[in-house]
Subunit: 249 residues, 2 copies
Amino acid sequence: MRPICGAASGCAVHASGKGWCCAWRVQCCGSDKGEIRLTFSPGPFGRGRRLANPGILFYRGLSIISYLGAKDPGMGSEPFIFCPRCGARLTQRFMFGRERPVCPACGYVVFYDPKVAVGVLVEHEGKVLLVRRRYDPGKGGWALPAGFVEIDEGPVAAAIRECREETGLIVRIRSVLDVFPVSMDPRGPAVFIVYRGVPIGGSLQPGDDALEVGFFPPDGLPSPLVFASTRRALWRWRREKGFPERRFY
Amino acid sequence: MRPICGAASGCAVHASGKGWCCAWRVQCCGSDKGEIRLTFSPGPFGRGRRLANPGILFYRGLSIISYLGAKDPGMGSEPFIFCPRCGARLTQRFMFGRERPVCPACGYVVFYDPKVAVGVLVEHEGKVLLVRRRYDPGKGGWALPAGFVEIDEGPVAAAIRECREETGLIVRIRSVLDVFPVSMDPRGPAVFIVYRGVPIGGSLQPGDDALEVGFFPPDGLPSPLVFASTRRALWRWRREKGFPERRFY
């Protein structure tokens, strides 16, 4: 990857060259610029594969690069045009570090937030629990049991609820496996928290959102596995089991 | 804690007794009810202390209990009255498992989501980086460098940005320490992701939001420490250093 950047700095990321197709944000150490915008043209893995992995990249060990997506900050989700508090038409104003929709009538400020999704890597007898999705995104593919956190529930409770709804199993959450950024979901950008869990009750049966559910060994994972975060979590789990870690994009 | 519950089940949580003051959601194993509402009267720690710890509770090792807060699902943040897409007045309708504000004119569905906050436990030479807050919530108290994730940035990038803005230090993120639910923040419910990090550049100086910044040893933490999540993260860090873990609420 060769970023295009107009900034001059001693930081290694401030190289110039032929870029890729997406807009990314870069934070680089040693630079008081802090954040710069890069553009990239399609790379060796093609646009689709690159877009499937919009997460954090380390560039020469010095920089954090995150996907910016489309210009609309509400990418995926819809931009706000009217004030949800008083119904007036919103205007754009620079507030809290960036342009945000602000209501000229009542002063309401729209903060576009990523949604919070949670999933569980449920392990039982050396196998992992996966769900074949009935609906888009990822329709027909296999993924971790997962879903969105409601505003009035904790992330652990949401992970347990989603797992029960999709697989019929009740799990106990053990720990946080990792947190992944999700930027290409049609429902809007999200932060995806993946927990480790073990089954403690219930009975295995696909929920309304699932076509099939099942446990799979590390050397017999089903195909296709959908969502970069599912693949990243599973490859890490495979590595723990002594299988080679595969690339996730 | 003695929950009041009308449901009949073999689950240990389905006891009855004198409750406490808040509304909580319970998910209990072995019950096909799944979620029940309990009410609690003020407990032995008093209302204030209980409210300071609205996180996940395990009840007799069988149940997950999460804080529901006020009846308004947008508690802390404001409820939506008008459609942000077309400006029409919203109505309530049962969709996707619960009542949600829906636009009768254009069909827009409001999903109230928790915000995503990130913080960093930055360790250097056995000491931890803390910030004394200039503004509410927690004005004048000490907390981890932290803030909200913007919709177009990853959580790691946001954690690095917030740390740089508040403390002047550039950090490298090592791992996820844990994820905490936040329900009593006046800015609305949030999921708080705490990372572990180490400084790799910059210079220590308080940002616009901070009164002071500094590194503190595990046996010399400043006071008051604000936010239950900060305390939970710090007590865990203290325990790793061989100091006794203190209660965080």
